[in-house]
Symmetry: none
Subunit: 199 residues, 4 copies
DNA sequence: AATGAATGAGCGTTCATTCAT
DNA sequence: TATGAATGAACGCTCATTCAT
């Protein structure tokens, strides 16, 4: 059921081969650049590192904000995909915590970027919303599975789970280079997610 | 105890009365402006809102980064001060959690600012480090007190406590406008800070 | 008489049928686009509206200026043609004034375009000059006919007639939407063209 | 009555001496530059020729359009002023025709600029409208005086007079370098403005 | 021959910082 | 000393033109 039977919807044009390559490279480079330097990094820097002219960036993404959004979407999609994969491979509890680690441990710079993205008004457009919903759905499935298994407190819902993810990422970013502290900080969150002990 | 007995270290000049007033107002205004508009807000905007010329800002703070750092220092000092006050008024456990809430609930925009500050390379200079150490000292006292009282897990140290503060602030910022979710998210952190139940 | 007996001069290549169609469509579209949006309109816009690739435009017209010039030439040729037709149908006086109206009343935007064209350095190339000469010839015939008929002041020559046309077009463009004023403005020019009353 | 008793209205701040000089120079230079190269001339070019940094231009005129509008206003004001002066010195008929010549003979490039300004959407703001009204008032006085004196056709109103001015300027611009033709073209307009001969 | 992706110079505009008043 | 005008590097973005498919 995970194999997608993409029906032949025409869509917004079947990009030429080289253009597709450039677009993909741009997204990759942009993610790296924004992660390293924050969203204030110049579009020119992205172009330079992708070895394309500045106009090529703007051909693919009509504004800088569109580029940021595209990077965000890509990341959301990757995470949702990963979540689905993990769920297929193991039980929901393991999958949930594995995904949690994946998100939270992604090189801090990546999270810095994600955070900044959220910070900025980036009124996520329809596409980003859609990607967000997909991730939301996966998280929902993982969460309720883990709750049924008694591994996670029952009162938790997806919105705060996401917030906890974001916050934990931030937390660990702050402890980059101090693995012992990071481990303890993570234990705090992990234990807090457990169902509270009766009594 | 609040009256500071500034010892007669020569220091960086004994600022004239009006200049001191200007400096104070600038810091206040700057914090508000950066909170509202992010650290990208223009220095001119700060000057305008403080009713001083732009050059006056640069006389007091030679670069924009210096201004940002000064705001950060002020905030750190205020928090340390607050911590000391709370400790004087109640037991360490109550004081710790009260300070936690104070920091974490400060209007999200302020945290956005703090976060951005941390994000940016702002290699906190000596002064900021000093203010940080003061806060660190207070937190240390509060933490060990609360640990002795059995209210907080024993393995926690100050660095991760700070990181948890930052992360939680971020978390709650993400849940601004969703108080029920925010309450649950906070419960997660709070419970995670408790000593783990003996199994 | 309208069927052109193009003599077999080698000329600039005998364009394939579809290419000829493309070229014609491009000119038509370009005139419309430049009329609507001014000569600053982008070449891409022309291509888009003509349903051709941008490169096709540049294949037919090696620079944007060449395209503008081609549009101008087309317009000059049409006017000359129209003048010849009018002269064949009626006396020179009627024909002259009819052509005058035709030129001058062409939708203001078209004149805006023509004016802009003239404004810009567009050092009309040889082809444009040729088209200009053709129009010049027709106007000359009309003018001298009308002068012989006593309908137009004798001292007038073609160069100033053209200037008067351009100026009047500009004048009426300025009065677009104010028909009463436009009528009075035109009366001024019309009366000024008449032979001055003796006495 | 012409001596203005400017009351001490505070206005939008009493510009510093050097700033005033710069502002004036910028307007002068901008008029020249836009006249020579059209309104498409770059703001940088204006700055360069005025020997100021680009930011100085934008400090004085927050957008390029504002600069264009300021130049237009200045021109309108100069013309109105000139009209008033002429009227004070001689009868309305002489004054009207003198002003006519002044406007129409201004170096063609200036008219090219004025025309372009009008062409562009330049939705003249309030200030420009005001300046326009002032000129309108002067022209109205001149026109009705000349009409009463029997020197100009009675049916003419100010709007078309302005249009005729614009059109004539365009006309003469087109004949730059051909004085004989220009003289004849102007005679056409001049004669057309006269009251039509009875009979 | 036709396409459209890629290019880079150039534009309008902003902002931290310096300088003249 | 405080002011605010001046500065120029940098940014996001556009467009005529070229190149690979």
């Amino acid at each position: 059921m995970t194999t997608e039977q993409t029906p032949p919807v025409p869509g917004p044009k079947p990009l030429r081969a080289d253009a597709r390559r450039n677009r993909a490279r741009l997204l990759e480079v942009a993610e790296a650049v924004f992660a390293e330097q924050g969203t204030g990094a110049s579009t020119e820097e992205v172009a330079r590192r992708a070895n394309v002219g500045i106009a090529t960036v703007f051909r693919h993404f009509p504004t800088k904000e569109a580029l940021l959004e595209a990077v965000l979407i890509r990341r959301l999609e990757q995470l949702a995909e990963e979540g689905r994969r993990l769920l297929a491979e193991s039980g929901p509890t393991e999958a949930l915590f594995a995904l949690f680690d994946l998100i939270v441990e992604a090189s801090p710079v990546k999270n810095a970027f994600a955070a900044a993205l959220a910070d900025a008004g980036v009124d996520v457009g329809a596409a980003a919303a859609e990607a967000g919903h997909a991730l939301h759905a996966v998280l929902s499935e993982l969460l309720s599975g883990a709750q049924r298994a008694g591994a996670v407190r029952k009162d938790l819902e997806v919105p705060e789970l996401i917030a906890i993810l974001v916050g934990t990422a931030r937390m660990l970013e702050h402890l980059d280079g101090h693995p012992a502290s990071a481990a303890r900080a993570r234990a705090v969150v992990r234990d807090g997610l457990r169902p509270p002990v009766a009594g």
